[in-house]
Amino acid sequence: MLDELVSNELKRDNEVVDIPQDTVEKLVQALLRLRRKYDDELHNEELKVFEELAESLFELRLEKVIEGIEPKGFDKEVLSVINVMKKVYVGYLTGNYYTHKGNVLCLVNKKAILDDVQLEPGDVVILPLNKVLALITTDYITPIEVKE
């Protein structure tokens, strides 16, 4: 259950607990039904308690990943986004991208529709840093590097 997951996460300081998808699945399905079935003060209070626990689980696991611990478990891919973010952030701040006032020059990797414009691989886009990040995680674009 969710409190045990949070509690385990607290106990282990130097690893992201490897929570299997199956464990999470049971919890998620139970709460999904609860949400769908009821809509009263008590059940909403219960859901709030669970939401806060889930938030804590996220915070504890993510903070470990930020500090360089390897992501593991059902949310491995989600947590790994932090490492992509870190790479892009560092690349940007240390001048490894062609850039001007927070806009970054990128190459399109695969067919995409950005901002209603249909783009082909090899097309060139100038995007604000936050968009770069989002589109990197979806592999639509790659910032052009000053030095590979």
Binding site: D3, V6, E9, L10, E46, L53, E55, S56, E59, E63
Partner: protein, 178 residues
């Protein structure tokens, strides 16, 4: 990290079980994992958040509470051993959470006597925390990690103990060879 951990500890406590005295028949309530039915006059155990809600509705009374008198006893004990860190007295893991519940109860009463009790409670708890944290720091510093001692700490105290111990170990470790 510290903030997140303290938040997490408090949140976990909201789902840990607490003993209640049932004041009125209630249920069945499907909490998604089990069905709960309470019969008037019985003693039972429910998640803290539910206990609090039921107490608000006068359906139950949480029994795992501390009283101002009990706090006084804890303080007395701590004071007597003020210079012996290892003599930390045993508190329930959710001790401070219980104190919080007591405080909220007193606050809601909103009469003079309750206010007086509240004032006294804050003072007593303040002293308890102060003495115990000092002991815990000593324990961390003396590198005492005896199960039996650690078991006497509350959840929050154990966190503090771990953080300080980590700082000490790391502080030295980081400098003396990586």
């Amino acid at each position: 990290m510290v903030n997140s951990k303290i938040k997490a500890i408090n949140r976990i406590m909201m789902v840990t079980k607490k003993k209640i005295l049932v004041l009125d028949d209630w249920g069945p309530f499907d909490d998604g994992f089990e069905e709960i039915s309470l019969s008037k006059g019985s003693e039972d155990e429910v998640s803290t958040w539910l206990g609090i809600k039921l107490q608000e509705k006068n359906v139950a009374k949480i029994m795992d509470m501390v009283s101002v008198d009990e706090l006084g006893r804890v303080l007395f004990q701590e004071k007597q051993t003020i210079n012996t860190p290892a003599s930390l007295s045993l508190l329930p893991k959710d001790f401070y959470h219980r104190v919080q519940l007591l405080r909220e109860n007193l606050k809601q009463k909103n009469d003079l006597q309750a206010l007086e009790q509240l004032r006294k409670l804050d003072q007593v708890v303040n002293e308890i925390v102060s003495i115990r944290i000092r002991k815990i720091m000593q324990l961390a510093f003396l590198n005492i990690s005896d199960e039996s001692v650690i078991d006497r700490m509350t959840n929050e105290e154990f966190l503090v103990y771990k953080i300080i111990k980590d700082i000490i170990d790391r502080g030295i470790g980081d400098i003396i060879g990586n």
